[in-house]
């Protein structure tokens, strides 16, 4: 597949904003949707819309087959051994909250510890704070160094008292764009009996994930950052955890029998999918996985790497730019660049760039503690997807120069 053919799959990339061609560089916030995803949604909505698991009629059977088919596809996409280890959620946030609640109820007592890293998205901080507060547990923070790399060297010390029950860490931070050494972290944690949740909201997009090889206990991601419909998400959890978890939300679908004397619950994963699910959205994960897989083909990937290298070098070489997230090994960097420009406010830059047709992100990026760590009120972020071309990358660097000149 060529990059032009790939772009053809994403009609929005041909749009204009303010009369200029759109250059969409906010992929880390949400990606765009390919036609195949839209068509899947349409097909289900127009041809087989029915509630799942509940009726004997043909449409219900079709809808259920699509939905459960997506479960198998998700298991295959991330290398889970068993589709029963896949719980569908409304996104990464919902998946993390599910684990925080259930793990907390089942395994956390007062005085226990939880670790999150300093670079986490609010979605991977707040659920743990809430759980810690409820359970009297203590939340500890694994710091990052000045280059934005996790201080994995500090982990042994933090784990050594044997009180840490769970560590939750981003596979790739949505601010720093560095692939974290999750295998190493997991190995260390498991040595001390500490479970690991990997927040894969960004990782699933930029890495080939194999949860079995990785060895994580939980892996969470959102569909919408991976070209699927918004409101879709996946929680992978090892079967033994899911079986040991109490139910999360109560409602239809997650039960076996309901009597006034008490209710028995369905088995995992349905135990964790209360209420009517995202009937038309979740099956769009299937074409999304397909296109994500195709983007890893050599013809597309080599351009993506070239784009990354070009932007990375250009920004590093600009004396006005302070780039956050520069790993020792350049191959650990993904095409996601958060930076500040000396003497220019990130919001002003984003506004001017917007007027030039570039969609970039500015602000705290849902990671206030990390902003504090680097002593800034916000950053500008350009995050690329494989459908972004070298030409767009060059235009971006030129536009950035122009905007900076205007504002300084």
């Amino acid at each position: 597949m060529t990059i032009e053919q790939l772009r053809g799959q994403f009609p929005i990339l041909g749009e204009k904003v303010y009369g200029r061609p759109l250059v969409y560089l906010d992929n880390a916030a949400t990606s765009q949707r390919p036609l195949s995803v839209v068509e899947k949604w349409e097909q289900i909505t127009l041809k087989s819309n029915a509630n799942l698991h509940r009726a004997v009629h043909k449409l219900a059977a079709d809808a259920t087959a699509e939905y459960e088919g997506a479960r198998q596809a998700a298991a295959d996409f991330i290398g889970a051994g068993d589709a029963h280890e896949i719980v569908f959620t409304s996104g990464a946030t919902a998946a993390i909250n599910l684990v925080a609640f259930c793990f907390g109820e089942a395994f956390i007592k007062a005085g226990d510890k939880i670790i999150v890293s300093e670079e986490e998205h609010h979605s991977n901080i707040v659920p743990w704070q809430m759980m810690a507060q409820r359970k009297g547990a203590v939340l500890k923070v694994l710091p990052v160094d000045d280059n934005g790399q996790l201080r994995v060297d500090m982990l042994d010390d933090m784990l050594s008292d044997g009180k840490v029950r769970l560590l939750s860490v981003a596979h790739i931070s949505n601010v720093l764009g560095i692939v974290n050494p999750v295998e190493e972290i997991i190995a260390k944690c498991h040595k001390y009996g500490c479970a690991v949740l990997v927040d894969g909201a960004q990782g699933i997009v930029h890495q080939k994930v194999d949860v079995t090889a990785m060895g994580c206990d939980f892996y969470a991601f959102s569909g919408h950052k991976l070209y699927a419909a918004p409101g879709t998400g996946v929680l992978y959890a090892k079967k033994e955890w899911l079986d040991a978890f109490p139910p999360y939300m109560g409602g239809g679908e997650m039960i076996e029998t309901v009597r006034w004397t008490g209710t028995t619950f369905a088995k995992a994963p349905h135990k964790f999918e209360a209420g009517t699910q995202n009937i038309s959205g979740t099956p769009t994960l299937v074409p999304a996985f397909e296109i994500a897989t195709r983007m890893r083909e050599q013809s597309i990937d080599s351009e993506a790497v070239a784009v990354k290298d070009f932007v990375y070098e250009a920004l590093k070489g600009n004396p006005l730019v302070r780039l956050f997230g520069c790993p020792d090994r350049p191959e650990d960097k993904i095409p996601l660049f958060s930076f500040c420009v000396d003497g220019v406010h990130h919001e002003d830059l984003a506004l001017i760039l917007d007027k030039m047709g570039f969609a970039v992100r500015s602000g705290q990026m849902c990671a206030e503690p990390l902003m504090d760590r680097f002593g800034v009120t916000g950053m500008l972020r350009a995050s690329f997807a494989p459908y972004n071309t070298m030409e767009e990358a060059q235009m971006f660097i030129n536009a950035l120069d122009k905007a900076v000149k205007m504002l300084r």
Binding site: H345, E347, D348, L351, L407
Partner: protein, 266 residues
């Protein structure tokens, strides 16, 4: 310049620019005209919530009018807040509270700003309105707090001053009405403190009176000219609203109202 005139002028200024870039450059220039905001005043309570950049806004009430000061760490935001201040500073709380801020749509500021920025603009407008409403709701809280106990001797000394202040107010006219502001019933309260400073609470026949500024400043000068008066502060209030019953009989006659009929109707 009245508020309406000022807004018209801004709309006109902006209409000269077709290109968004020029509009932004104009805003950036505006931002540079902002009076400096003291670093030590950039406190949490003055931060406007809901903006991506940090915006500090402070205001002070002087002579019945609100005066704003602001700053931002982002230059375009600074331009926007500077524009708002240029238009709304030095207006009465009532004028601001009653304004619809529609001129912002006319200059295309809303449509030209990104969603978060438009949100920021909305927060700025909300804050300015809230400050105005606050100021309108409790005019001269400080003066009331200062209310003092007067001795018999004080009262004896102050009584002639009150009479002279009333006489001074009777010299002031709304240029469109041939009755002075006192007999017209526009003066709601007169207070003179031990330092002989006069506090006057007054209204206008309608909230949008175009001559309000002029009349207030004339009243202030007239009162301050009274021998023995050390200063005068005037608060403009619209609660309770003025009505014809508040006029003296003399005024009603002058304006051709039938005195008795009017009473029986009321």
């Amino acid at each position: 310049m009245t508020l309406e005139e000022k807004k018209l002028q801004v709309v006109e200024d902006f209409s000269m620019y077709d290109e968004w870039l020029d509009k932004y450059e104009y805003l950036i220039e505006q931002g540079k005209n902002l009076e400096p905001f003291p670093e030590e005043s950039k406190t949490e309570d003055k931060l406007i919530k809901g903006c991506q950049s940090r915006v500090w806004l402070d205001c002070e009430m002087k002579d019945g009018k609100l005066w704003f000061k602001a700053d931002s760490d982002a230059i375009i935001t600074k331009g926007i807040i500077s524009l708002l201040i240029d238009v709304y500073s030095g207006r009465t709380p009532q004028e601001i509270a009653n304004d619809d801020f529609a001129f912002l749509d006319q200059i295309g500021l809303k449509e030209n700003l990104s969603p978060t920025r438009a949100g920021g603009l909305a927060s700025m407008v909300e804050t300015i309105k809230a400050k105005a409403a606050e100021a309108a709701a409790e005019p001269k809280a400080e003066a009331e707090a200062e209310a003092e106990v007067l001795s018999a001797a004080d009262v004896k000394e102050l009584a002639p001053l009150y009479e002279n202040v009333v006489l001074a107010l009777k010299q002031v006219y709304d240029p469109e009405i041939p009755v002075n502001i006192y007999d017209l019933g526009l003066i709601y309260e007169i207070n003179i403190n031990k330092e002989h400073r006069a506090y006057i609470k007054m209204t206008f026949t309608a909230p949008n009176c175009p001559m309000a500024d002029m009349v207030i400043s004339e009243a202030k000068t007239s009162v301050e000219d009274v021998p023995g008066i050390t200063g005068c502060d005037i608060d403009l209030v619209f609660e309770p609203a003025w009505s014809q019953d508040m006029m003296t009989d003399e005024a009603k006659v002058t304006l051709g109202f039938d005195v008795d009929l009017d009473d029986s109707q009321a």
